[in-house]
């Protein structure tokens, strides 16, 4: 019957789009369209309540002379530089520690994941309390005979504390990523190396690292983008105004502070957002480019 055949064909063409509709709509309306709107707003003087007029590159020229912007850019880049090496290495070591199937190891794996499960607000509040000048960390330092450290008073120590918090919170997450990768490393490689007389350190360098290299690159890419976009940890540890004299402000904190509120400078905040967007993509490309060896491992 020709009629039913054509109906089947229409079905075939339409059905997939019905399946895709909810997902595509959400992604298009709330992720892709806002990118375009950020692009166009960045060249206007829009405020929260007014649409704004085209001002060309005025916002970007303004950024060049905005001291807060440079402080924020510095902090966000420092975050990447200091957080990423630890995020790439420590979780790998952790994964190696819990890789072996020994009794109780499942408990430890799940327990190490706890900081990932807890919200960033909760862990920040816990750490602020622990880093207080009379808090647990200084209590332990005192017992060890070291003087109290003013973690929450100095702008550099504040930033370093927030970075430590970020590394700590991410440990469990990246550990899982590494565990999956380690599961694919052939056992024979290790055995062969052991027979050749390679010690644990040597085997780590010549067997484990090359085998999980694609995963290390992936973790490096993910964590550098995440570190560059940092907001919550610093906002919560250093306070909404970014620590003493705003010296701990990060770029996304600047976006939030500039662009919201009744008189938010939406245009200017969009210009900063574009910088975040561009640098984040650049970081991703740089890290991925550093690894061209094995493309099959990724999607």
């Amino acid at each position: 019957m020709p009629r039913s055949a054509s109906r089947v064909r229409t079905h075939r063409a339409v059905t997939p789009w019905l399946f895709l509709l909810p997902g595509l709509a959400v992604v298009a309306v709330f992720s892709l369209y806002p990118v375009l709107s950020t692009f166009s707003k960045a060249f206007t003087d829009a405020r929260t309540l007014t649409g704004g007029h085209w001002v060309g590159t005025a916002n970007f020229r303004g950024l060049l002379h905005d001291e807060q912007f440079w402080v924020a850019l510095r902090n966000s880049l420092l975050y990447v530089l200091l957080v990423v090496p630890f995020t790439v290495l420590l979780p790998l070591l952790l994964a190696l520690l819990v890789q072996k199937q020994i009794p109780g190891v499942a408990f430890f794996r799940a327990a190490f994941y706890t900081p990932v499960v807890a919200s960033v607000v909760v862990v920040s509040l816990i750490w602020v309390w622990m880093l207080d000048d009379r808090g647990l960390v200084n209590g332990i330092l005192h017992v060890l005979g070291a003087g109290p450290v003013d973690f929450l008073g100095d702008s550099w120590l504040l930033l370093l504390s927030a970075m430590a918090l970020t590394v700590w919170k991410g440990l469990g997450y990246y550990m899982i990523v590494y565990l999956a990768a380690l599961g694919n490393v052939p056992r024979e490689l290790h055995e062969a190396a052991a027979v050749d007389g390679a010690g644990p350190l040597r085997r780590f360098r010549s067997v484990t690292v090359p085998a999980v290299r694609p995963t290390m690159v992936l973790v490096g890419a993910l964590s550098s983008v995440a570190a560059f976009k940092v907001f919550s940890e610093v906002y919560l540890v250093a306070g909404p105004t970014g620590g003493p004299a705003g010296q701990d402000t990060t770029l996304v904190m600047l976006v939030q502070r500039t662009g919201t509120g009744l008189n938010g400078r939406v245009g200017y905040a969009s210009a900063i957002s574009l910088v975040v967007f561009a640098v984040a993509l650049l970081l991703m490309l740089l890290v991925l480019r550093a690894d061209r060896t094995d493309r099959k491992e990724k999607y």
Binding site: R12, P34, V98
Partner: protein, 276 residues
């Protein structure tokens, strides 16, 4: 499996206990602080790890100061809604991308990959102005919408469906099952591990999110737990017992949920989610 030498096992357990102290210790310290009564000095040196006379008083008091249970309920609404929309939206889209043949499939897949690459932090202002224009600012709906179907979840589901053998479905096609029936009866039951992973990620993501609700919510009665706790932090930082009680209320449900689902979760992650 080759036998592990005794000393190596001992070293492993020792190191694991050390990491346990570093990762879980802070939560226990917070729990301990939340149970200390107002008469107990929380600043002793050396630090006192266990409360002298445990009391639940701080939990009652934190609820007097901020409507912590209302905030928890708001968070729960947001998180449950996000789980449902993500499970439905991501599995349907993932199924279409992996299992159905149609023109534009590559373009549709690309849209999700592009969305995955967009740093959400760089579009919050645009999202906020959009919510204002839609008259949705300051509603829980606005909190849910941008993450209602996560691009990453769609791609996870696509990979899970793509890994299924073709033969099962071919039989169903011959039996005359349409795409929807194949999706519901054959597809979904085969990817339960990945569905669990998506559900957990969606719940955690919504329950823990801070920046977006902070931006889009203005009335304190709409606050989710994370935004409300931030307020507690600012106002009552002088009494760490209360802040501690608030954080325990926020984190306990998640830890319990995760403890119950972790088997499923680790299996799901190992199965196909990360391997791709």
């Amino acid at each position: 499996m080759s036998r592990t030498p005794g000393w190596e096992k001992a070293l492993r357990y020792l190191l694991m206990l050390l990491v346990l102290a570093v990762t879980v210790g802070p939560f226990l310290w917070q729990l301990s602080t939340s149970l200390k009564s107002t008469t107990e000095d929380v600043y002793t040196s050396p630090p006192r790890l266990l409360p002298g006379h445990p009391t639940a008083h701080n939990y009652a008091e934190v609820a007097d100061i901020i409507p912590v249970w209302d905030y928890a309920l708001n968070s729960l609404k947001v998180a449950v809604a996000s789980v449902l929309t993500n499970l439905a939206g991501a599995s349907m889209a993932g199924y279409a991308l992996a299992r159905l043949r149609f023109r534009g499939r590559k373009a549709a897949g690309l849209a999700f990959v592009l969305a995955l690459l967009v740093p959400l932090e760089s579009i919050v202002i645009a999202q906020f102005t959009m919510m204002r224009d839609l008259d949705l600012a300051n509603t829980l709906t606005a909190v849910v919408l941008p993450g209602a179907v996560g691009a990453l979840n769609v791609l996870l589901m696509r990979n899970a469906f793509a890994a299924l053998p073709r033969e099962v479905e071919e039989a169903a096609v011959i039996d005359g099952a349409n795409a929807w029936q194949r999706f519901v009866r054959i597809g979904l039951p085969s990817v339960r591990g990945t569905l669990a992973v998506v559900a957990i990620f969606a719940f955690m993501g919504a329950w823990d999110d801070f920046l977006w609700p902070l931006i889009v919510l203005t009335d304190s009665d709409k606050f989710t737990l994370t935004v409300g706790l931030n307020f507690l932090h600012g106002t009552f930082a002088q009494n760490p017992r209360l802040v501690a009680a608030g954080t325990v209320i926020a984190v306990a449900p998640l830890i319990v949920m995760f403890a119950c689902l972790q088997r499923y979760f680790f299996r799901g992650v190992g199965e196909g989610a990360v391997k791709g």
